[in-house]
Amino acid sequence: MAAQGVAAQSFRQAMAWLHTWFGLVLGFVLMAAFFFGALSVFDREIDRWAIPSTRFEPQPMPSYEQILRPAFERMQPTQQAIDAMRPRVDGPMPEHFDTVANWSAYTTHRDPVLALFAGFQVPGAKDPDEAIFALGTIDPRDGTALPDDRLKIGSGFFYPMHYSLTLDWKNLGVWIVGFSALVMLAALVSGVVMHRKFFRELFTFRPGKGGLRSVLDLHNLTGVVALPFHFFFAFTGLVIFSATYFFPVGHTQLHDLHDLHAATEASELGLPHKRAGVPAGLANVDAMVAEAQRRWAARDMAGDVGFLVLQHVGDANGYVSVYRAGTDRIALVGQGIHFKASTGVLIREDPVATPVGKVAEFLTGLHLQHFRHWLLRWLYVLGGLLGAVCIATGFVFFVEKRKRQHAKQGSQGARIVDALAVTMITGMVAATLGILVANRLLPDDLPARGDWERYAFWGTWALALLHAGLRSAPVARGLANPAWREQCGAIVVLALAAVGLNWITTGDHLLRTLGAGYWPVAGLDLALLATAAIAGATGLHLRRRAAATAAVEHPRREAAHA
């Protein structure tokens, strides 16, 4: 009996060690994953705020014949893409790319603008399968081209931050985030083991108790109430990237087999893998889309087109694939319907998935959230922010538990962790606001404007790190780092500046956006104001506490001198 108790005790201690140290090291990564994940829930809406010329209502997939065809026909790769491709081609690059490998258009129920992609065959490419690509963005109402060089801060920056920290070199960021997600699963299990009063303290937060108790309460509370969210999002994140993490061999060791498989699969499905080399015309694509919608309706599914692909354009082997935008359910599936391009005859309708496939579709769909459900989106934001608070309180607990002891021993450990925690919590919020402020301040026609916006983000974050480090000396004496409250002040200023600059530069103040019911911009402005309010209240609270501590410390020091 006693031996069992000892074993349980040492098991719990082992779990505590794991939770503390892995949580500390990878918590910095997870903090970014949670925070930018919460922002990515509304990535399309943040894009609207950041690119004022796209502030209009979401549009359905437009008519191919009237809008898409002329837009596709205008597309050509940029000079930059051509130069990048040049080393992988024997002979000169052509002036004009004529052989279209594929054209595609993508939209969601939240996108006012339409993203277009075009792939072209390159004569003389060393890898004949390698295509050169062109991207475009159009206004789907009339087909006019929109500037495509603007940084989509939501879907083009915060979202990649969420899963890759924007470290693209050798996919390093994806690997770091994935490893952290794996460790997070371990941290959740070890946390539940350590937390003996899981149900008894489910609703417990005692802010009055002060010190370690209230911090640990908040850590447990935010971890436990959203435990299913934390678990499933770490897990499904790994599922989404499973092809990268667990089977990264398709494009390395097994390249030939991969290609053979693609060709076999294509012939089995009746969807030609390669061009026939025989020119052919194109039947009415709008009629194919209408037929696809009729088939979805017969299966009792919403019929918005999310993704339209024309493969092997102008060739006898050409086909058109119409995919559904999955707005009405969680599972991320396209229910693709494929037609022969030259005749418009149906080739194939994607079958219903196997049970295992359905589970995978549900798991990836719940994370990638293509559904139309505003309440669930906001609940995901809540889940993400609860996760961020859980990690933040973990850092604070780590420091508070050790700083007095470290002060006595003359160790700098708590001081360093505390400065990094400031950087990772208030500094990250400040950096996020920094890019929004830069977005509204930089001149419209600045070359490489998106790069400058990114520099503003990283620059603000670097300043936050510097500031947190320079102000960290009191932690080594067992006191609080004033950087916490000072960066709260910076957040207030930056958040209010972002709202004000949006008003000045676009005329879209809250009364107007709320009056018009234009929630993408109104929502972000309101969130910025809420951020300012929370940071302001926190900063004042910390200042009062610092004043109270100083009042206690001061007479004590004088007494020591006397």
């Binding site: 489910l202 609703f203 359910r329 969680i330």
Partner: protein
């Protein structure tokens, strides 16, 4: 438009049911009864609160299912439980006495008898 507002009502009711359900479950616990009424609720009352809480959470699930496809309803419900539990914890921390309104049949008299 009519359908959208119908769904909005169902989902608002589901959120409310999750919140109230979580609050009832919390009030049945000795520590939180202490916070709200100054003493834990007597066992008979605690049992009633627990049953009410469980029923409210079930009602919340039913409302979610009435509003959306089952796969989506399950997620909305689980997340609404998280929101309800968090809101209950915050209410207990800052405005504990407000929660007494959710169980007006439990007066100070009832809890006083257990002292």
């Amino acid at each position: 438009m009519h359908e959208a507002s119908h769904a909005a009502w169902l989902l608002s009711a589901a959120l409310l049911a999750s919140l109230v359900g979580m609050a009832w479950l919390a009030l049945a616990m000795p520590a939180h009864g202490q916070q709200v009424w100054g003493a834990p609720v007597p066992p008979a009352h605690a049992r009633v609160l627990r049953v009410l809480g469980a029923v409210a959470l079930a009602v919340s699930l039913a409302l979610c299912l009435a509003s959306d496809h089952a796969s989506m309803a399950a997620l909305v419900w689980v997340m609404s439980l998280a929101g309800g539990a968090f809101a209950t914890a915050m209410a207990l921390a800052w405005r504990a006495r407000w929660l007494a309104l959710l169980a007006p049949w439990i007066g100070a008299v009832d809890t006083a008898t257990t002292r």
